[in-house]
């Protein structure tokens, strides 16, 4: 049974539908990268895993199971137990996620409880420095602060760590260091990771599986190399093909034409249809059901019939 199971989750804000029937499974010990267009609902999905959404968000449909427990229907006490024992979160803003009025040591002590060994946990993120213990968050660099946050999230050896762009605010070297730390700590503790990121190469390198979101749904998921190297969904293909870092100098990259959708209600068909080179009539008004293509689960009417590469897209002649 999977550790995290998101089933047909629909989350609505005042005038936006952030998730439109997203489904995702994360198994014990697995690392899953969640990528996708900005605004596609990654953060919303990540927060939903711990029911950490703002009050303006409404769950309209679907459910989220963590270790078999329905997160949205749990009484408060059980929910807290779940968060405490089974879940860990790391957010994008490293300094912001630490209490600015408390010394780092005190915060860790608070999280670890009486018997906790603060130095040990800081040592695990290579910060065993008394000066760090006495520092206030604003006196730390972004990388150091993020490592403290990781130490706090990993202190209880959770089953699942949700990391929402934990390295986006850091510069490239620090970024690498921090990512390494998260993955090695998680491997040690047998923690599953849900890694929300824009950094496709990093996701490809580090994650077992990748889930791609588009328009509030997970449109493709499967083994990382497969999904990014051999995409089954046209959007994944477009995404994978457009990393600037990959392009040689002077080459013009072709982005996905058109604009990302903004949903206000359920999308009538495939949300990607208006921008899809392969869209056909039914894509417009029939919601695609999940299909299995190779090792991937895909939401696309035409997935089975397409052969797509990360940089070139071609239609398989039947």
């Amino acid at each position: 049974m999977s550790l995290l199971s998101v089933r047909n989750l629909v989350i609505d804000y005042d005038r936006t539908r952030a998730l439109d029937g997203a489904s995702l499974e994360v198994a014990q010990g697995e690392t899953v990268g969640l990528v996708g267009e900005s605004g596609s609902g990654k953060s919303t999905l990540g927060s939903a895993a711990g029911r950490l959404l703002p009050r303006a968000a409404r769950r309209t449909e679907g459910e989220v199971l963590v270790a078999g427990e329905p997160v949205f229907d749990l009484p408060d006490g059980r929910l807290r137990h779940l968060r405490r024992r089974h879940l860990g979160f790391v957010f994008q803003d490293p300094i912001g996620s630490l209490d600015p009025t408390m010394r780092v040591g005190a915060q860790l002590r608070l999280v670890l409880g009486r018997g906790g060994d603060v130095r040990f946990h800081l040592g695990r993120v290579r910060l065993d420095d008394p000066r760090v213990l006495r520092a206030y968050p604003h006196q730390l660099s972004g990388g150091m602060a993020q490592r403290v946050a990781i130490a706090m999230a990993m202190a209880t050896s959770p089953d699942l760590l949700v990391a929402d762009e934990p390295t986006a605010a850091l510069d490239s070297q620090v970024r690498e260091e921090v990512s390494n730390m998260i993955f090695s700590l998680a491997a040690e503790a047998g923690t599953s990771i849900l890694w929300l990121s824009h950094d496709l190469p990093a996701v490809a390198r580090r994650c077992d599986r990748v889930a791609v979101m588009y328009g509030g749904r997970v449109v493709e998921s499967g083994p990382a190399r497969e999904v990014l190297g051999n995409p089954a969904h046209p959007y994944t293909a477009a995404l994978a093909g457009s990393a600037p870092a990959a392009a040689a100098h002077g080459v013009r990259l072709e982005p996905v034409p058109g604009r990302p959708p903004v949903l206000t209600g359920p999308s009538p068909g495939c949300a990607f249809a208006p921008r899809c080179a392969f869209a056909e009539e039914r894509c417009e008004h029939e919601r695609p059901a999940p299909v299995r293509v190779r090792d991937q689960d895909v939401l696309c009417h035409r997935a089975a019939g397409l052969r797509l590469g990360p940089s070139q897209q071609e239609e398989v002649k039947a």
């Binding site: 804000y13 005042d14 267009e37 986006a168 850091l170 490239s172 070297q173 990259l253 982005p255 990302p260």
Partner: protein, 244 residues
């Protein structure tokens, strides 16, 4: 277009007396030619943002001179209206929370007294946002959407000089490419100059003609893009490229 000559910026932090002096920029000389994009890279805290503030005339250098269009900055900022624009680093505070997206994007036009009927929606669509975003408030946007709005605002008046400070780092790659392409296209169309600041060497390579590397307030290397990526001269540049 823009010339920084031996610019030093020193910040004094803390209360008077025992102030901590900190050189955010040390003897920096840079120039951005007409129609050229200069990429500025370097680690966090190396002085990139400070450089851009000097370039925008928001920060007076402690030493050194700045010339924009061959002249020092005019005393009245107003004379530069519409000539320069910037996309600033923090998406969270880049938009006035009391103004609808449409109003924010239209503001630089208003300042110039131009009211261009479709310019706003057109520009929003260029950055991948549909016209109905014009009626939204910033808190209803995701991080990437906000970033795109500030880009739209910066580009709407087609200024001669632009600063992009981490303009695309909050965006996913496909949108990133879209924006980078937009920048390139507009540059091809009317030839503005730009200072493009980013951690992301890939993105910099994609848009920049020349690249400057900063470290601890100093420019350690300036080279054109191809040379930089193939044969970096400075040790630090090599380190940077390895991480890519």
């Amino acid at each position: 277009m823009l010339e920084l000559d031996d610019v030093t910026v020193t910040f004094a932090a803390g209360p008077p007396f025992r102030r901590i002096r900190l050189d955010a920029m040390r003897h920096v000389s840079l120039s951005v030619g007409e129609g050229e994009t200069l990429g500025l890279v370097g680690e966090s805290g190396s002085g990139k943002t400070t450089t851009s503030r000097v370039a925008l005339g928001l920060q007076r250098p402690t030493a050194g001179t700045v010339r924009f269009d061959g002249r020092p900055f005019p005393r009245r900022r107003r004379e530069l209206a519409g000539r320069m624009q910037a996309v600033l680093q923090h998406p969270h505070w880049s938009l006035n929370p009391r103004m609808r997206v449409g109003q924010s994007v239209a503001e630089p036009l208003d300042v110039l007294g131009r009211t261009d009927g479709n310019a706003v929606t057109e520009m929003l669509e260029h950055v991948g946002l549909s016209a109905d975003f014009a009626g939204r408030y910033p808190h209803e946007l995701s991080g990437g959407q906000r970033q795109r709005v500030s880009i739209a605002r910066a580009l709407v008046t087609r200024p001669g000089f632009l600063v992009f400070d981490e303009a695309v780092s909050a965006l996913d790659v496909s949108v990133q490419v879209q924006i980078l392409n937009l920048i390139k296209d507009l540059q091809a169309e009317y030839g503005f100059s730009a200072l493009f600041i980013s951690h992301d060497l890939g993105a910099v390579r994609y848009v920049a003609d020349r690249i400057a590397v900063m470290r601890a307030g100093e420019v350690v290397e300036t080279a054109d893009t191809r040379t930089f990526y193939t044969a970096p001269a400075h040790e630090y540049s090599k380190q940077l490229l390895e991480a890519l």
